[in-house]
Amino acid sequence: MVSDVNRRPLKKYALPPADFVVWRRDSQRFPFLPKEYEQGNPMTPILQGAFVMIRSAVVVIMLIGFFSVSWAVAGQDDSTHVLPGRIVLLSAITVGTVTAVHLYQARAWWEGPRAPFRFENDWVYALNIDKLGHAYGAYTLSHLFTYSMDWSGFSHSTSIYYGSVLGLAYQLYVEVEDGFHQEYGFSPGDAFSDVIGAAIPLAQERFPVLKNFALKWSYYPSTEYVDALRGGSGRVFIDDYQGQTYYITMDPHFLMGDHPPWWIPPWLGVGFGLAARDLQNTEARRRLYIFSLDYNFTRIETESSLLRSVFTVLDHFHLPAPGLVLDGSTVKLRLVY
């Protein structure tokens, strides 16, 4: 059976087109209250209004949240070194980026018909590579917010705390939007991954030994994705799960004490990766397991703050390196993966 990999496979109750108008109108109802409760109830307009406002306000709340955090923390005693100019600049960049990403996602994912909000499990989708993607997304966004707040002069504990909160908030906003889309639904599994991804930076701060581990991502467009683009498809690379590999990497030096062997350079790490192939074919789809070398850019010493920033960003990606790929019962040595 062949299905479109760009869509979750659990959608089994598509409406006939004739019902779409009713569907869209009905989506303004609050779907978790009984209809008979709404009919003739003086509270109904208020509930409906509140429902629409909540749905519309998610993005606004996120943006205001960032400003609120900045404002609140700026007043604390341990944040006297906060730089107002940088906060303003950072806030502007954040607002612009979130708006741009929202518009991009609205075109890429949410252009189809909307529906009453619902939850829908999708534990079999994309062999769970998407779940790793959600965790990685929350992890990376949390780090991004943390770095930004660090740069603005907040204390590191403040940055990492609110960085994780904001990273999780953004990921959940995406999931809530999915909940209103006819083809998706709010996936509790995705939310689980978001929570785990956002908790990792806090766990690393609480247990510094965990800083020797990292989540990384690599991407090489799959043939199916390239073909789809050539065919005029509006697909986005984030949904190209066959081209993505997610890694847990480790800096092995912490296991070697104060005097690691000279032949293991400080920037060399190892990683374990997970990928998927042939997702469009339910018979042939499978996971790939990758054992690979990795680069720990943050272990490269430099006096340049610009280079340090570049290395910090690069440390969220797995760049091509030699590795072993386990594909079914076949093991292949790849000099570059």
């Binding site: 978790f32 939850f119 534990w123 609480r206």
Partner: protein, 201 residues
């Protein structure tokens, strides 16, 4: 009524059992009074109605915030399943996948000691969908009680019982719900683990 009695007995027993503990234990290992935490919870659910046999399970994960040493608020995302037995009172039966989210307020009956009884209550939104794609939207409420254990300053375990009631109104995928609303009741044993980062902003 039986449930209320059960919860009252459980709570009272745990309170008495830990009363001395509250006096003699230090708080050095206790989790921070305020701050963010993450909770993972598993709840096997069992029949609650006297005439209908049901079962299922909930697995929940989500963030929470300790408002004080005794009050905590959590947002838990839920996945699981419910098996609904045939009944004249309900239009559906069979096995359903369940997804949802619940907001929960927890109150610890003591602010001292590493073992503390608690009670909790909350409400949530849920959807159930069967293998044929037939699904329902609804809401739910729950109450629970049990005992929490904090062996370190970054971990909290909780064991408790909870009563769970979900009521479904909307047929997912159809603009009009052509069926009578139905409710699912269950009693569950909850086991949870929380990670408390203890990071102060």
């Amino acid at each position: 009524m039986r449930l209320a009695s059960l919860l009252a007995i459980l709570t009272t027993s745990v309170s008495l059992a830990t009363a001395g503990d509250a006096v003699t234990h230090r708080d050095s290992s206790a989790c921070r009074a305020e701050g963010l935490f993450f909770e993972l919870r598993a709840v096997p659910l069992y029949e609650a109605s006297p005439s209908v046999m049901e079962r299922g399970e909930l697995v929940m994960l989500g963030p929470g915030y300790a408002l004080s040493r005794v009050w905590a608020l959590s947002l838990l995302f839920a996945t699981g399943s419910r098996v609904v037995a045939p009944s004249a009172a309900r239009p559906v039966n069979g096995e359903f996948a369940l997804g949802g989210a619940r907001l929960e307020l927890t109150y610890f009956l003591s602010d001292k000691g590493s073992i503390r009884p608690f009670c909790s209550a909350g409400a949530g939104l849920f959807s159930i969908i069967n293998v044929g794609g037939l699904g329902y939207n609804g809401n739910g409420i729950h109450v629970g009680a049990g005992v929490g254990w904090e062996p370190t300053d970054f971990f909290r375990g909780k064991l408790g019982v909870e009563y769970d009631r979900m009521r479904f109104f909307n047929l997912v995928g159809q603009p009009e719900g052509q069926f009578e609303p139905f409710a699912l009741n269950a009693l569950g044993v909850s086991l949870s683990a929380s990670f408390v980062p203890g990071i102060v902003p």
